[in-house]
Subunit: 340 residues, 4 copies
Amino acid sequence: MAGKINVGVIGAGRIGRVHAENLAYRIPGAKLVAIADVVAEAAQKLAADLQIATVVQDYRAILADRTVDAVVICSSTDTHAQVITDAAAAGKHIFCEKPIALDLAKIDHALAAVQKAQVKLQVGFNRRFDPSFRRVRELIAAGSIGTPHILRITSRDPAPPPISYVKVSGGIFLDMAIHDFDMARYLMGSEVVEVYAAGNVLVDPAIGAAGDIDTAVTTLYFANGAIGVIDNSRQAVYGYDQRVEVFGSGGMALATNKTPDSVVQSDAVGVHAAKPLYFFVERYAEAYVAEMREFVQCVREDKRPSVTGVDGRIPVVIAYAAQKSYAEHRPVRLEEVDRR
Amino acid sequence: MAGKINVGVIGAGRIGRVHAENLAYRIPGAKLVAIADVVAEAAQKLAADLQIATVVQDYRAILADRTVDAVVICSSTDTHAQVITDAAAAGKHIFCEKPIALDLAKIDHALAAVQKAQVKLQVGFNRRFDPSFRRVRELIAAGSIGTPHILRITSRDPAPPPISYVKVSGGIFLDMAIHDFDMARYLMGSEVVEVYAAGNVLVDPAIGAAGDIDTAVTTLYFANGAIGVIDNSRQAVYGYDQRVEVFGSGGMALATNKTPDSVVQSDAVGVHAAKPLYFFVERYAEAYVAEMREFVQCVREDKRPSVTGVDGRIPVVIAYAAQKSYAEHRPVRLEEVDRR
Amino acid sequence: MAGKINVGVIGAGRIGRVHAENLAYRIPGAKLVAIADVVAEAAQKLAADLQIATVVQDYRAILADRTVDAVVICSSTDTHAQVITDAAAAGKHIFCEKPIALDLAKIDHALAAVQKAQVKLQVGFNRRFDPSFRRVRELIAAGSIGTPHILRITSRDPAPPPISYVKVSGGIFLDMAIHDFDMARYLMGSEVVEVYAAGNVLVDPAIGAAGDIDTAVTTLYFANGAIGVIDNSRQAVYGYDQRVEVFGSGGMALATNKTPDSVVQSDAVGVHAAKPLYFFVERYAEAYVAEMREFVQCVREDKRPSVTGVDGRIPVVIAYAAQKSYAEHRPVRLEEVDRR
Amino acid sequence: MAGKINVGVIGAGRIGRVHAENLAYRIPGAKLVAIADVVAEAAQKLAADLQIATVVQDYRAILADRTVDAVVICSSTDTHAQVITDAAAAGKHIFCEKPIALDLAKIDHALAAVQKAQVKLQVGFNRRFDPSFRRVRELIAAGSIGTPHILRITSRDPAPPPISYVKVSGGIFLDMAIHDFDMARYLMGSEVVEVYAAGNVLVDPAIGAAGDIDTAVTTLYFANGAIGVIDNSRQAVYGYDQRVEVFGSGGMALATNKTPDSVVQSDAVGVHAAKPLYFFVERYAEAYVAEMREFVQCVREDKRPSVTGVDGRIPVVIAYAAQKSYAEHRPVRLEEVDRR
């Protein structure tokens, strides 16, 4: 495809703004042409900030625009599957935020629509585009640490979401750990076959009252025999804690947090350095640009995105298994929750 | 007790040599007076190196010596309980390497003998005396990280022991992870109530053939609701990997490995630093001195050691639970394996 | 000034491209409208890449365009003073790469033109906008390290420039260390009063043959009594080495290099991490955006840039003093080379 | 020499205690047999602590004892040369704290006595035995960083000595920087040929009133063309700051400070680590053992110590040159102060 592709952003919330700004300023191959949000003011505000002319409340208006090549779906999770299905039917290429849906049947329906329409679909597992995690993956793929034996992922948010959000989020495994389940597959290059999830309510009793937990330690068995463990917390007071470590027969690769500066201050009390970047917008700023750059490039050059619909589906299955494991207090195999 | 105490070392193997050298050169309050080993040459060699006159094959000769105040038991694990019992009966204060025994009944019998004789017993959980782990414990005890939520321990040996040793070791949980179970209790200040152990044979099939595993990821539930995870491997090619991390409501404290130097070398390939110290003799050199210093001080000043017989017993119970969990592929509560 | 300002870039070389790309994609308040270069192909290539319509060979065509609000001068150093003078006369606001000129009289002439025209002038000391160096400055300004006593700057390039460039560069002090002289003033908040420069040809004899040195260690006395030292090399094989350290009565603040990732790899050989980012385009990518953002904001909001014409002049004086010190093998006071 | 050598310690002050304790407990090849101090109480206290029978006020009593093989001279600097001369005449091997004397003629007289008596003399440049500095030296010697171009040494004490000591210390160059001058020679494997010393009184005006400075930045030219810089301060509030860095054609090796633990604490304020070890007794504890172990080994095996009398002399010459440079405000060549 010569020239820029025209892109519409559907959903003008926090992550919609991230993608819209990147499309407007950071991705030379794309032109942001339209913004949709069911909340008209949100769409108008974002469009005004970025000087985008087309603002709509109903995303179908964007789908009806024949000059639009692709859409970026940032609306609420419960709408993703329907928007994907509609966008595919309209022949638009699709970038969709994770998760595709909280329901496997809906995911499969959406993926079928994508398959039928032969449009591209990339799922927003942005962390795969973080330079440090990518480097760990490269080291593993290159055999630099030998055969992987143990995976450790630490993934802790700086603060829990509002309880209103917790209630509709699908729970810690589908909402938060899903990123880590994807990271586990990405780093190890092997599928998860069994999950054991321990968890508790330690951060805020209100999260427990909402039917969720806020602290989890999840053990994964991989098809290749390796073992992984993910620890999640909804609240790390020192900021977004995102670390991975892969240990293997030939060594270890680990990626630590990213900080706003490299300054070390020594005084009579101790030696001090900056906290990690606050949250995903800051930590993964580069990764959001890189994933959108790849999506736009795939559309322009008719290539397959590296994060596909299936990559969007499997972490949901793992999350299901984790939920069941926690509920039933026993290890759960993935085939127990996905009889496809 | 005024003046130095007289100490006999029972067992002249690798760890016996460590303690003997420390007693000879590093602990002003103690005088190493005798060395015993069933292998006469081993005892003679060590005694010659340290210029100790009394060398015996049968440890009971040391127990019979009324001038000996205390013994340091470094013989093979299967002898510990009997030597403790005999030493207690002889009125000697006792420092015993871990584990006390692989059998709870034997441990309870030995502890009863100590209790009856009113002698001091310190168990050799040397890692508690590592300055970094001790500092983490102090931070937690001081409330500097708030209420603990998640504990992570990485404990990997540089190379597996001989298969002949693996066969009699009691298995990875009793032989190796037992140190980590003690560390977990020490750091968290709360008891473990349930264990889930995942594991595999990834390092060497011969370890599997010997009935053991070489890689383990063990999840712990603590009485206070916190969750811990320990990952073990019998072989880290980069050296002894001993790290702990405690995450809580107010922050995180982590302790990393110790290196032989602080040199950073940059060249056209990358930036390079030293590997961790090779194994326990190097990594815990200071800790071995510190634990023995405490033991000698407790004997001299009639104080209670900070690592007691009960501290020697509980990690064995946790190891039992881990073994059962791995064998039965389910979480196991400690009371299932310790119906005392 | 409401709306975006129109900016022309003069000089389409390496640094011209950096600024043009940032103006095109990263600075919402600016619109890049024209590119000039005496080498027509260079201007055309850059304009085509960024889809800019106006391309000229003679920068005066840009100055003649009444819709242009500001120019960014990235042409060769020997043209800076003349372009500044012309741009000021045309009423354009000016961002100029360092150094303004290699000749103090020319600098003073250009600054007088700026003064007379009452346009804004910002000099491209990009390192002041590096988040880590900025943080060090903030710590010093906040008194966090007390009264500064010792400043250390390490500034080493990854590879020397072509000998053809060395010959016209003005020498290591005016071409390379000038950034460090500015950094010294910026961090310390005090003026340099005396310089002693040691140096040698150690990297490449051809640099010596061209009349320059490639290695320098320069001592600075500040008006406040503090002492600074800068070490420069034209070739650090491990990449761009840019570190600062300020030590004072209350402690120390230091900023280390920036790396492409945070990955640490351990293997049987050692522990390995990434080299620093290769050179200024990579290391100061954010800083280039930030300085241009400030310039555009100053123009739009009629504010005074934080890096002024005088800030462009003083490091040239320090460089003169360093040259004289090296040549005469003695400490040189700034007033010896600047009798204004 | 079979068996242990008998050693007497002359001078029971702070450093005398360090050496005496090491000889008593850490050096199997030596037996500490006597302690001398002009202050009888000091000698008695130290001897009592270490259970040494022979305590004298006049060191000549130790020299007269034919069973004594070697002496360790830790008395005040002004006595070193005389004690060396007497000890050599008595045929004792000599370990002497630095500096040998503040006067070159005295040094030469003492070295001549050593030469004539053919006894061994090791000077107490303990830092050469620090594992990190030693590792840097090894890397350089192995060519791992190519040809050395730039040396940087940071050497800052945690607190200034009493003013009474400052007055008799010989000044910052002879008293403090002398260690760094030795380190420079040790690391670079090349002799210093010229010195330029900048300095000031920034820590305490009383130090200035006593005729000394408390802050210095000293540039060194080496015979091989490399350039070095040492920065000294009498007061780093965060503890003993002892770092070296050597940069060369093939890379860089740097050694950072040593800390009491490896704990990193993260909280809502920042990320915190331990300060460097407080002062030389803590930082160089291992190095003091290692240097004495080498001395004892050299005596026992009739080998030449790696730190000789000439190594004790040259840093004094460099210190003279630095003093002269600071006083005359110009670079000074070593031959100006040492016309031997």
